[in-house]
Symmetry: C2
Subunit: 475 residues, 2 copies
């Protein structure tokens, strides 16, 4: 380590004097010679996420010992924080594994069960108690893109007939098992969702206040079968700790907590990101090779076929190419740039379509704006190219001034035109996909680039053929 | 409306019997002839976000009336939900505007102040009370990429010497002004951060329990000057309702709530998404034309220059092009496909780098894996292209079988080689950027595509020159 490294390290320490040491502390506690009760006491002071991070640094024996020290409740909480819980579940007796899952929130348990082999998962579910099984069955009954599959069945309910004091007592009773207590849900006499009370309001309310006056009756909610895509923006906008999920009869089935929402947003945006790069879905560090190949090859084959289509169109201009080989060298710029502006327009359009629902009028306005963007950016890029390539062909390729600038005129003009068309294509395709109810994010950047390759080839060689061969009669 | 439309509508209604009607209901209440107190009562049942959505559908006069009906407290809450609060702030007297901002959470107020003209913002801050001004100054003192700029100053603190009953009383006292009460922060005798208590644990605790036993002392926290990029993944992993932000002396300055976190994640991922498409930053629907041009042109100019570089390299192969115009038509496929795999590798690498810190060993393993992905995908795509283009050149272009498959051999071989190299380039460039402490997300898809164009051009024409002109002696 050099002196500079040491100074760097010291500076970092000064800014973050304590962070990141928790894991080491936890390992030390686990490996110490202290009696079990003492270890438990000390471990209670650490966050489950930090203990979860330590598990993989222990061996099987140490892990088993740790579980018995911490107790079932805490182990369940720790397991909810594991990135890859499968291996840790699989090394346990089925009985113990089922107990751990039973104690977790149902949606976390489902996440783990989904990672296990079907057989193992079935076995564990059979070993759970009736109530846990019911919650898990409910959550598993939803498609992955339905909001019901993301909900937590852990929430507190009150009824309208309670006094403030009784209500507070009900909260205390339910708080032991349900830790989402900051919003309390009120049911009417038919057990239907009536509204919500902020725990804060209940806590500060005087005893003689009627409970109903604290209820927000038009509280936001979602239906269990709504798609995640459809309701995620609404849920985000409300920025609540939890929003109830109802069935069609207005009975409350679960809640979407802000942690659930964070996970969903993270997931959805990750998927959009992957799709923009023509990946079938997100990959992580541990992704096996075969899985990665499978996620990437479908788009590549489609893009290859489209690309070969573009090539066969380029082939039609063979006589232009044979006569004017110089202009071929600029093909890659024109195709590249039209792909780039297309991808920019695409990305902007997809984000706008995800964030808001556009009226027809707004859609037209949006296309028009992208057209203008393409027009002005194309003008700038086209002009720069006209000058640079003209000078280059004249000076480096030994053409006459007129011929050089006739060629660079083709290049600049084709760039301009191709960039305008590409901007519009990059806007219209995702809007069209949304219209026919296809996720616009599947219109990936590479797809738009390939489509725009075709536009660029026709524009460029068409212009070259018309202008250079038929008007200037170059050869 | 056709019969089918009606059925469709009915089905939709059945699934979502009540959603989306809140805004209309609110407008009806506001425009009704009922007395003000009655309107206030009815409006109290609606969520602030729904009332905020209605504001833009009213005229100035109706809005002013609505504010006076709802009262300052509620108006402040509604303003926190506005997408574009500037216009509504600007139409108010400065006194009233300052009062509204003063009542908001400091970070929400800062968000609005940042949108106003500097002069107006300064004027409003001067009109606020000392405490609000202090909080706002604190939050504004951080750079946009520091976590301190995202925190909320609304949280509840307890001291260690309290009994359970006293602690609960303190919570009730503070709950009126601070609605983030689900996690309570405990300070030691020097007012330093000591740990956290779950409100649930406090509520269910028996009266004789010592407060300290409820405290998680190794509770996660962040320092105010840490960058958002550095701590966001940690914050996400803890999935807590709030995490404290400390200064270097371990004093608590504010908290990051899960709502703050959701906003930050949304923002960060939106930025990454924009960068993958070579946009300087995210754009929304209302983005003015000039702003859009400014966000897109810088990357386009850089990409143009790189593209012209590729062109001048292509120009070196002019003799190959002049001799074998057929092979030019397949240039676009090779460049396109190598760009596509490069973009895929890039996107995967950026996500992995954002999610975790890799050791050198992991980095090497990752590059090796991407190399393998490029190898196998290249083999598949290369083989398909070899066959299809060979048949095409033989049958449609009237070449001999040998010549046709020699050419398609070049195409397939160049594709294979270019795809391997591109995968590696798409992985190494973002890793290199991370090493030199540049955000890897600036390595956009189009940048990687252009770099890979160069690889592909040299591979393709190099191979064609060697194989077709020098070995097979085609002409």
């Amino acid at each position: 380590m050099t002196v500079e490294d040491k100074i760097d390290d010291k500076e970092l320490k000064d800014i973050n004097p304590q962070r990141d040491d928790y894991e080491d502390e936890i390992i030390q506690i686990i490996k110490s010679d202290e009696p079990a009760y003492k270890k438990k006491e000390e471990l209670d002071d650490y966050h489950e996420n930090d203990i979860a991070a330590v598990l993989e640094k222990l061996d099987v024996k140490e892990r088993r010992k740790l579980y018995s020290i911490m107790g079932l409740e805490r182990v369940s909480e720790v397991f909810a924080y594991l990135d890859d819980p499968e291996e840790f579940i699989e090394e346990l007796d089925s009985e113990l594994a089922a107990d751990i899952l039973e104690n977790m929130e149902a949606d976390d348990a489902v996440d783990i069960l989904d990672e296990l082999e079907d057989e193992k998962s079935e076995e564990l579910i059979q070993l759970m108690d009736k109530e846990a099984k019911k919650d898990i069955d409910l959550i598993q009954s939803y498609d992955d893109d339905e909001i019901g599959s993301k909900m937590t069945t852990n929430y507190v309910t009150l009824t309208l007939n309670l006094t403030i004091k009784q209500a507070m007592k009900r909260v205390v009773e339910q708080a032991a098992d349900n830790d989402n207590i900051s919003t309390l849900y009120v049911l009417d006499s038919e057990n239907k969702f009536y509204g919500a009370i902020d725990l804060t309001d209940l806590i500060v309310a005087r005893e003689y206040v009627v409970l109903e006056t604290l209820v927000t009756t038009s509280y936001p909610f979602v239906y269990d079968h709504e798609t995640v895509d459809d309701c995620i923006e609404d849920l985000k906008d409300y920025s609540e700790d939890s929003i109830p999920v109802l069935d069609r009869d207005q009975h409350i089935l679960g809640v979407i907590t802000s942690q659930d929402l964070l996970e969903v947003v993270d997931e959805e945006m990750g998927e959009d990101y992957a799709k923009l790069a023509a990946l079938a879905s997100e990959e992580d560090l541990e992704e096996p090779l075969v899985e990665s190949l499978k996620k990437r090859i479908p788009w590549l084959v489609i893009l290859l076929m489209l690309g070969l289509g573009v090539s066969s169109v380029t082939g039609m201009f063979e006589h232009v190419i044979a006569t004017l080989p110089i202009i071929v060298s600029f093909q890659s710029v024109i195709l590249g740039m039209s792909g780039n502006v297309g991808t920019q327009s695409l990305a902007v359009t997809i984000r706008v379509l995800t964030d808001e629902e556009l009226t027809l009028r707004q859609q037209l306005g949006f296309v028009l704006k992208e057209l203008k963007v393409g027009f002005f950016n194309g003008m700038i890029i086209g002009s720069i190219s006209f000058m640079i390539t003209g000078l280059f062909i004249w000076l480096a390729k030994g053409q006459t001034v007129v011929n050089a600038f006739a060629m660079s005129g083709c290049i600049g003009g084709a760039l301009w035109l191709a960039m305008i068309i590409s901007s519009v294509v990059g806007t219209i395709i995702p809007i069209f996909f949304t219209k026919i109810k296809v996720d616009p994010a599947v219109a990936s950047g590479p797809l738009i680039s390939t489509v725009n390759d075709l536009v660029a080839v026709v524009t460029y060689y068409g212009l070259a053929w018309t202008l250079l061969l038929n008007i200037v009669h170059m050869a």
